[in-house]
Amino acid sequence: MATDVLTGSDDPGRTAPAPTPRRTRRRGGIRSAEATAGWIFVVPVVVILGLFMLLPILMALWVSLTDWNGQGSPFTGKVPLVGLDNYTDLFTRDGLARQNFMTSIRNNLYYVAIVVPAQTVLALFLALVVNNRMLRGRSFFRTAFYFPSVTSSVAISVVFLFIFANSGAVNRLLELFGIDGPQWFADSRGVLHILFGAVGVDTPPASLTGDGPFGLPWWEWLSGPSVAMCSIIILVVWTTSGTFMLMFLAALQNVPESLEEAGRLDGATRWQRLRYLTLPSIRPTLFLVLALGVIGSWQVFDQIYVMSQGDPAKTTLTPAYLSYRTAFRDFEYGSGAAISFVLFLIIIVLTLGQRWLLRERDSGRRIRRPRRRGRETGRRS
């Protein structure tokens, strides 16, 4: 970096080489004017990012070690310092805090386990269909599938509240098939519990009533997402698959057509071509979509806030919503901040995992790179 500034050798043809001594790189000459301008240009970004992203993280880290209740400033001596108590409350100490937190973790685990595969498969499927060169009106359909992704999550949630209402559209549709739909947002039963019930296991077997990991009984860990959560899952899959479809589409359009042709000539079935030709060629995108999906799924907030606020029976509580609720409704800012840091950690680990995985795949990639011509080439309607 410093050498760049000193010599400027990478910018040929620059005017006025300014034969002044190189030491004085801070004053005089085009280089230093450029350096000043550079800093002036990035100052707003640096200040705002620093002030509203970096600094807050440090402040919150501090608050998570205190018992601040929102009165006055958390940075005076009057606020009781509790050390790691807020964290141990979440993991090791028996109590409501841990119970809520573990319930939210369970809910979110089920949520991720369903949303991510569902949205990925649906997005890939839609992309494959829309990418079919024989079909007309592809751009219309692409637009239709993507439209929910750009609209307000709050507005969409309002619509889905109506659609999933007790006498709403979904239950009317189910009625047509002779199914008596549930009261979606009031039903706290876990779907796995319902399934167990269907095979005659209504009450937990004795082995599962005992405490499971982190104080939550095994039977509770094994509940599956609640019916209420399922409606939110449906909403989210519906909203997000459009975005991911576009990402798949961009990747698919970079796959050379000749590859598909060759596969066809060799007599590969449709499924084989997908499995052995298409999927390997879009593997980086596949990983990216999976990773973004997992990362996004741990942050679900808007829909929960609008549709259920964690109800019924805490089955739609997620860590993101729980941290908000703990801080801004129960005024336990320390505990809320601790929850967001644990969530932060989860997401950072996932992000690093994704980077690492992508790096592995990129270096281990096999042939068929040469045909790629940058990401932009495939864009067409």
């Binding site: 359909f141 637009t143 307000s152």
Partner: protein, 305 residues
């Protein structure tokens, strides 16, 4: 009509002029026809799944409450009823939310576009010590999940004495790392020679940036504008922690409040759907007009939840 006169369902996929030249790809016999028919069936089914909720929303916003409760699936009101629309404007704070949202969105969008292009340009072209660390920070910030910043942002706004003000709604959103990244990538694709001739003509750094390079960056500017517009118009969590005063509510906040708060859980669906519809319209218009820029934004590695 035209479809009915065609020989069979599979023919829908054919080119509109039946005896026109056939491209070889279109002519693979019954298998291909069946495939393209299945393709259309799938597309139409999913188009319905993805669009029908909006149809339901539109239809039910203009129904009476009993009608909406009795026929939620029907897209057409049995009696066109505009009373809920009227109540949106007279019985709720909707006009206020609309005003706040417009103000926030306009200022945030202008700010983001301006700051993102300044910083993007500096990071792409200007040599200054600290450029690399700054860029590293920007990239790192792209990975910070917004949801975990809720309490932290509240703390800073509180400490700075900005809590519960327009500044709290606007300033933290003025800069977003993704926009900076997009602009930087774009500026790097503009040939250096353009700036050099401007320099030779005696333009300063800002002048070169403002009158020469920025106009060339139009596509990227539109992308960032649209991402910012859409993002700030739809933003809920930030407004939850930035303000408390109902006079400062933005549309998403007001809408959320309407659903969960003041009107209670019970019904009033035509009203709520209508308000949600009105909140969707601006983004919908922008989306239809600038569709391909949305597409570009999505492929920039967007971080949608």
């Amino acid at each position: 009509m035209a479809v009915l006169t065609e020989p069979g369902p599979g023919a829908v996929g054919r080119s509109p002029s039946p005896e026109g030249r056939r491209r070889p790809r279109r002519n693979r016999g019954p298998g291909a026809l069946a495939t393209s028919f299945a393709g259309y069936a799938v597309l139409v089914f999913f188009a319905l799944v993805f669009l029908y909720p909006f149809v339901i929303q539109l239809g039910n916003a203009f129904k009476t409450e009993p009608d909406a409760a009795a026929n939620p699936l029907s897209p057409v009101p049995s009696v066109l009823d505009l009373s809920s629309v009227q109540r949106i404007f007279e019985g709720t704070d909707f006009p206020l939310w609309l005003g706040n949202s417009t103000l926030v969105t306009v200022v945030v969008t202008i700010g983001r576009v301006f700051f993102a292009s300044l910083a993007g340009y500096a990071l792409a072209r200007l040599r200054f010590s600290g450029r690399r660390p700054v860029f590293a920070v920007v990239v790192a910030m792209m990975a910070v999940p917004p949801v975990v910043l809720l309490i932290p942002k509240f703390l800073v706004l509180n400490q700075l004495g900005l809590y519960n003000s327009y500044a709290a709604l606007i300033v933290p959103l003025l800069v977003d790392a993704t926009g900076v990244f997009v602009m930087k990538q774009f500026f790097e694709s503009i040939p250096v020679s353009v700036e050099e001739s401007a320099r030779i003509d005696g333009a300063g750094t800002f002048r070169t940036f403002w009158s020469v390079v920025l106009p060339m960056a139009r596509p990227a500017l539109i992308t960032v504008t649209i991402m910012s517009f859409q993002g700030s118009w739809n933003e809920l969590p930030h407004s939850l922690v930035a303000v408390q005063d109902p006079a400062l509510f933005t549309l998403p906040r007001g809408l959320a409040d309407l659903v969960s708060g003041s009107l209670g859980k019970g019904n009033q669906y035509p009203l709520k759907l209508g308000a949600a519809l009105l909140a969707t319209i601006p983004v919908a218009i922008i989306f239809v007009v600038f569709q391909r820029y949305f597409v570009r934004g999505a492929n920039e590695g967007a971080d949608k939840g």
